[in-house]
């Protein structure tokens, strides 16, 4: 259809119509094809990632149902969990009374404690790690002590914390802090010791001062290591909070489990475990995703 227009255009283009005919008709189809081609792998990827765990989950539910479905079983089967704890599963944010609230609220309370303890651990841990990574003497002096302290189980700190703070709330936060700080310190120190000598030389030629060096070279260069430490740290603090709350009481998800056990609400415990697992998974993904965003392009080439 545009052949004539092309023909009449100019003498120079006279040789081109032959090529134009070939390229014209397949074009719309190839655009459609590429659209489908672009869509298809996405759908495929989603299916590949979602279907297998879903199938596995259903099979596990089935096995669980078969194993504990008989009368007189020690643990509740999925069907019983559903019938007994339906409100907890379907509505995480209900408020029915001062101690009868949805698990979402309890998780948020626990998360707030984690945020305070872990946030403090992140700041102190990165700074201490930077010191150890930079100074040979700080490393020689502090590293052996840290290596001993980091093996102390989280809950072993709790009595000390309770004695020191005389209150359960700061004690729980302290336990989070002391649990999550070690991997942050150690990974930061390793990251800083691994800053390439070339980057240090650049900083020396430019005569960057300590503060400039920290923000311009040290932090970005060690960021992948720091985020590895933070990721391990946030996982550990989520492990520790549940245990700490079981002992200190209050509103958190850990205390909920303890309370449910004391009043034999096994189905509630099962639901709480699922909440804890999902939230822990999300915490890990959030820190990892944030790390990926911050350290974009930080790997040397």
């Amino acid at each position: 259809m545009s052949m004539t227009a092309l023909d009449g255009d100019s003498d120079k283009k006279a040789a081109k119509p032959g090529a134009a005919v070939i390229s014209f008709s397949p074009r719309p189809r190839s655009m459609f094809d590429s659209f489908v081609a672009r869509l298809a792998p996405n759908a495929r990827r989603v299916a590949l990632n979602v279907v297998p765990p879903l199938v596995t989950f259903l099979i596990l539910l089935l096995i669980w149902q078969l194993a504990f479905g008989r009368a007189g079983s020690t643990l509740p089967p999925p069907s019983k969990v559903w019938s007994e704890a339906r409100d907890l599963i379907t509505d995480p944010f209900f408020v029915a009374g001062p101690q009868d609230i949805g698990l979402g609220w309890r998780v948020l309370t626990s998360l707030q404690r984690v945020a305070e303890g872990f946030g403090l651990a992140a700041i102190v841990g990165v700074l201490t790690g930077a010191l150890i990574g930079q100074s040979v003497w700080a490393m020689r002096g502090l590293d052996p002590i840290f290596q001993v302290l980091r093996t102390v189980p989280p809950l072993a700190w709790l009595p000390i914390a309770l004695a020191a703070f005389r209150d359960s709330q700061p004690s729980a936060i302290f336990v989070i802090f002391i649990t999550s700080i070690w991997p942050i310190i150690i990974n930061t120190a390793v990251g800083i010791r691994n800053i390439p000598q070339d980057y240090r030389n650049v900083a020396r030629v430019l005569q960057l001062n300590q503060v400039e060096f920290f923000f311009k070279i040290m932090a970005p260069s060690a960021a992948p290591y720091i985020f590895t430490g933070l990721r391990i740290g946030v996982g550990l603090s989520w492990l520790a909070i549940v245990a700490a709350e079981m002992l200190t009481g209050g509103v958190g998800i850990g205390f909920f489990i303890w309370d449910a056990w004391n009043s034999s609400r096994l189905s509630d415990i099962v639901v709480a475990l699922a909440y804890i697992g999902v939230v822990g998974f999300l915490l890990d993904k959030i820190v990892a995703g944030f790390g990926g965003l911050v350290t974009r392009g930080a790997s040397p080439t």
Binding site: Y199, N201, V202, R204, V205, K216, P220, G297, T301
Partner: protein
């Protein structure tokens, strides 16, 4: 001869525990303002050590490095270094890499707009202004080295130190960058000291070639002035008698009188 940079009886030895290795012994050299000097020698002869001493990245054991009659023993932007492996910071863009240097060296001396113009000017000098928003991982090896040169030039150094700047590049890219460096040298008249182990590169670029003996306890074996008129064109030089003679002199020094036995 006006001594711009003077290396005065430099010894350098490294000690680890009780063991001491003497790398350089009694190195003496005087470099004039605006001169292009190459240091050539077999690997392990301490040429990089010598450059690090001039840069102030390591300190002399005996003797001294004097720049305009003042001793230098710490690094500084007036002796900018172009590192062998470019050493760009991978988390910064090309522009930001140069900006890091410019903002540090010229903070308080230039306004924000002047600094921006200066950054772009230096990127244009190495023909990299078009890639100012790219990260180092997105550009080729030769381009990275261009940015490394721009960063060093942007510090407006008294002396530009080049540590095997083209060693990691392929021959064609290397030739391009050599031409760029010659152009920049002609344009700015900087004093440049370059480490190399490429004989052709040394003869093509240098006013003088400093040839190092083999280590341990290496020193300057010979200094060869290259009396070729500038601007130099690599194609015309191929058949130039002075060029061939200079090339031969360096080769003879390296492979006849100071052959590296271990390298065989």
């Amino acid at each position: 001869m006006s001594a711009y940079l003077k290396l005065d009886h430099i010894d350098k030895s490294f000690s680890r525990g009780a063991q001491t290795t003497e790398v350089l012994r009694d190195v003496n050299l005087v470099i004039e303002n605006g001169e292009y000097v190459s240091i050539i020698g077999h690997s392990g002869c301490g040429k990089s050590t010598l450059l690090n001493l001039i840069a102030g990245l390591s300190t002399v054991t005996n003797g001294g490095v004097l720049l305009e009659d003042r001793e230098v023993n710490s690094p500084g932007p007036e002796r900018a270094v172009v590192f062998q492996n470019h050493s760009l910071l991978p988390w910064l863009t090309v522009y930001e890499n140069v900006a890091l240097a410019v903002n540090k060296v010229f903070s308080g001396k230039k306004t924000r707009a002047e600094r921006h113009a200066w950054i772009m000017h230096n990127l244009e000098l190495v023909q990299m202004a078009h890639a100012s928003d790219k990260r180092p991982s997105e550009i080729s090896g030769g381009m990275k080295q261009r940015v490394g040169i721009a960063r060093a030039l942007a510090m407006q150094p008294k002396i530009l130190l080049l540590d095997e700047p083209f060693g990691a590049l392929d021959a064609l890219t290397r030739a391009h960058l050599q031409d760029s460096i010659m152009q920049i040298h002609a344009q700015l008249g900087n004093t440049m000291i370059m480490i190399t182990h490429d004989v052709d590169e040394a003869v093509l670029l240098s006013d003088r070639i400093v040839m190092m003996t083999n280590g341990p306890a290496a020193t300057i074996g010979e200094v060869l002035p290259v009396r070729l008129p500038r601007p130099r064109k690599r194609l015309e030089l191929v058949t130039d008698r002075a060029y061939i003679a200079a090339r031969e002199a360096v080769l003879k020094f390296l492979y006849e009188r100071h052959r590296l036995v271990e390298a065989a």
